[in-house]
Symmetry: C2
DNA sequence: CTTGTATATAGCCAATCAGGTATATACCCT
DNA sequence: AGGGTATATACCTGATTGGCTATATACAAG
């Protein structure tokens, strides 16, 4: 499983996305992370392991606590992948550039297309 | 399963990402999409169904062909979600703003941090 | 109406997943 | 050492996944 696979798979679960969102505010222990969820502690630990294996969190040691912190860099790769599609979703076109090329500016381009 | 779940889950498979990448170049039939892969046609059809259910492709009809085209809009939502983390991965900091606040500009801020 | 081509569906299987409970481990405190 | 707290691991289960083969459907062309 490559990095991109692992990243997207980790992000596919809403519990894990919520955990990452929480970690934007800073480090948190497993108990703290588990608190908002109607889910057992071992299940949260499992989600944390998925995030850790994907490189999206790292863990420290504070007495018996294992605080989690966000490691956002792998998200950059996912973001880069998505960027390839940006012009398509933002322009609301499907190969519009090629189409325009084929039409050879039949009409004056007035940019009112959306 | 919400939209974001479906989007990220669809993107977690390299075959599906390759199919989407191919579709940037324009519509393609199932056979055309299957060609680069050492995989049976029904398996490709299954992947296409996952992409369609996630709203990432739509399909037309051309005789017995069912051409696929990219529907990139759902990717915008995924991109928006990732954007929340951009300043973290780009700044190479972990709650640096809060940390700087706590230190109360102990040193003159010269912006050479990265 | 038969044949060929493109695609979808059904059913099988092994692997993974997401949850659970029970238990083990790690660390602190007295 | 013994007790409490935080976390991890082991194991079970049902659902989902990703692949396969075999078969069904949709359409075009003769």
């Amino acid at each position: 499983m490559n990095q991109l696979d692992a990243t997207f798979a980790a992000l596919a679960d809403p519990t894990r996305r919520a955990i990452l969102a929480r970690l934007i505010q800073g480090e948190a222990s497993v108990m703290e992370l588990a608190e908002p969820f109607a889910m057992s502690q071992p299940s949260i630990s499992k989600h944390l392991k998925v995030l850790e294996n994907a490189g999206l969190i790292s863990r420290g040691r504070d007495a018996q606590r294992r605080p989690c912190r966000l490691e956002a860099k792998p998200l950059a790769e996912a973001n880069d992948w998505l960027e390839r599609y940006r012009k398509i979703w933002e322009g609301n076109f499907q190969r519009l550039d090629a189409l325009l090329g084929a039409m050879k500016a039949e009409k004056a381009p007035d940019s009112t297309d959306q």
